[in-house]
Amino acid sequence: MLRFILTRVSLVIPTFLGVTFLTFLLIRLVPGDPIEVRVGERGIPPERLLELRHELGLDRPLWHQFLDYIGGVLQGDLGVSLVTRNSVFSEFVTLFPATLELAALAMLFATVVGLPAGIVAAVRRGSIFDHGVMGISLTGYSMPIFWWGLLLILFFSVGLGWTPVSGRLDLLYYVEPVTGFMLIDTLMAGEYGAFWSALHHLILPMIVLGTVPLAVVARMTRSAMLEVLGEDYIRTAKAKGLAGKRVIGLHALRNALIPVVTVIGLQVGTLLGGAILTETIFSWPGVGKWLIESINRRDYPALQGGVLLIATTVMTVNLLVDVLYGVLNPRIRHSR
């Protein structure tokens, strides 16, 4: 078991180094060197330029710079934002809970709706319900989510006035951020009005971000269930005279869940990528919106740090899913 986990972790290290190298290159591929970008149009005397280059270590060989960069990364030093002059790492950490809260709720929404829909579709294979679920989930899978968000805003916020258009909380409220998760912070502060406000703000972005994962979960659950329902042990369970619900709920679902859980884990990338669009539409103060703003402001250190941290998050989650999968399924653990 320990060996399996160590193998998996060791496989991720080269990928991590590769991603670090890629983000390191990023800032050098952008036209103009970091100092020119920072100085902008004004320009500075050449001797000052040399001085600055030396200060930032830009006159050293590339490999040396890369080692410096890695050294900084491992200590959580990702440079300083060109615009705010704050440390990129602390900016990211401040904004990340907003994205995480949104992504977690989106995944919850996708699972709570997608899992039962997929199960029922599989059990009633070929029925109208099955065709309906499959049609809707393929549509969801094909959805340009930035447009979907606009439609929902148009209908629910502008038309019916049920939900707010943007942000995380009404301006009426102020809650001291403790965890950064608005739902938890408002409850801890005992501000129930603020809690409802936060929940209202979350609903539409949650649906928009959860749409693609919902489609994936429903389709995956259906096909996994169909596969399991054809197995001999299901026939045995039925032949023993067990009730249909018991066979489906206990015998079939448990085995069908393994691939579904994996797929849910692998949606983290989709969620963080989709967060860029969702946060832009709803003015959600998370890392997705921050990244797009960094691009528009040519704040390359912020972009570089943000990309590296998001990639690290995705890799970590994928690694956890991978290990968990091995723990749950001994066949995987011993086959490689």
Partner: protein
């Protein structure tokens, strides 16, 4: 495919089996299975329609997509109050005909799909074949590189590449192409590895075929099925991601009638004139859905495991 149960099969075969008729050509068999999938047929029909419209955009479109009719700003679609027959789907904020812009946008989206799939398929195929055929260090190097690309969310990677290259339609296509390369590379590698040790490959190796001939002439034709499916689905990813980049301002720039760009540039009219935002989205959704339906149908028809 039915699995014969041992109890039902007679111990001895009939002495003289009647002459078997010629099996149908694989394409005929494929078409037979594909035709039964109504969704896939619908997808194919929609794609053909969009392709024809895109090809003959100049003839089909009622107006020039860039002409601004100063007397027809934000005209609603014809069935709404104030709509005009000259502008079936209405006009945008500077008086351009929505329908004509959508039609020219279809040409762009089809072109984006075609170029992105061709580029990424070519590079992914080459990388996957090399990795799968040679194995060892080459394989490890190529696949680790693909892992790095895969560890970034695809849209984030596309955004970063577009940010480095600068906004624009060509750069957006390049960005999306790079992002999807790993999918083709992984698929090709798996297929090649499954085939490489089969008898027919060993036979041609023994007969003196060189690595290039082995890869391209012997192995490749047997790995095509999953790649066709992936390429079809690749169209939808390409169109969707390019539109998302356009929406974020990193793709095609106005006044190019790219669907995502059209959406972004008319955002402030969302409340006053919902149609300027609705139509481009409908166009994206319908096109992407059609390609996904087609891809699913192709997978079912080409995958022998699912054939009944």
């Amino acid at each position: 495919m039915t699995t014969p149960t041992t109890t039902g099969v007679p111990e001895t075969l009939p002495a003289a089996s009647p002459p078997v008729s010629q099996p149908p050509h694989p394409l005929v068999e494929f078409w037979y299975h594909f035709r039964q999938n109504k969704g896939a047929m619908a997808g194919l029909a929609v794609i053909l329609l969009i392709a024809v419209v895109a090809l003959f955009a100049e003839l089909v479109a009622p107006h020039d997509p860039n002409i601004q009719y100063r007397d027809a700003i934000l005209v609603p679609p014809v069935w709404q109050e104030g709509g005009r027959w000259a502008f079936l789907l209405g006009t945008d904020d500077i008086g351009r005909d929505m329908l004509s812009r959508l039609i020219f946008g279809a040409r762009l989206s089809m072109m984006i799909g075609l170029i992105v799939v061709t580029l990424s398929l070519a590079v992914g195929l080459a990388l996957g074949m090399i990795a799968g055929f040679f194995g060892g260090v080459t394989d490890a190097l190529v696949m680790r590189l693909m892992d790095i690309l895969l560890s970034l969310p695809s849209l984030l990677l596309a955004v970063v590449v577009a940010a480095i290259l600068g906004p624009g339609l060509v750069n957006a296509m390049l960005a999306v192409s790079i992002v999807v390369i790993p999918h083709y590379a992984r698929l090709t590698r798996a297929a090649v590895m499954a085939e490489t040790n089969k008898d027919y490959v060993v036979a041609s190796r023994v007969a003196g075929a060189g690595p290039l001939r082995l890869m391209l002439v012997v192995i490749l034709p047997n790995c095509v099925a999953p790649l066709i499916v992936q390429a079809t689905l690749g169209f939808s990813t390409a169109i969707l991601d390019a539109a998302a980049l356009g929406f974020l301002g990193l793709g095609a720039q106005p006044p190019t009638p790219e669907w995502g760009t059209m959406l972004a540039s008319s955002l402030q009219f969302l409340q006053r004139a919902p149609w300027v935002v609705t139509w481009p989205g409908v166009a994206i959704l319908v096109t992407v859905l059609a390609f996904n339906l087609l891809g699913d149908g192709l997978r079912d028809a080409l995958d022998p495991k699912l054939k009944r």
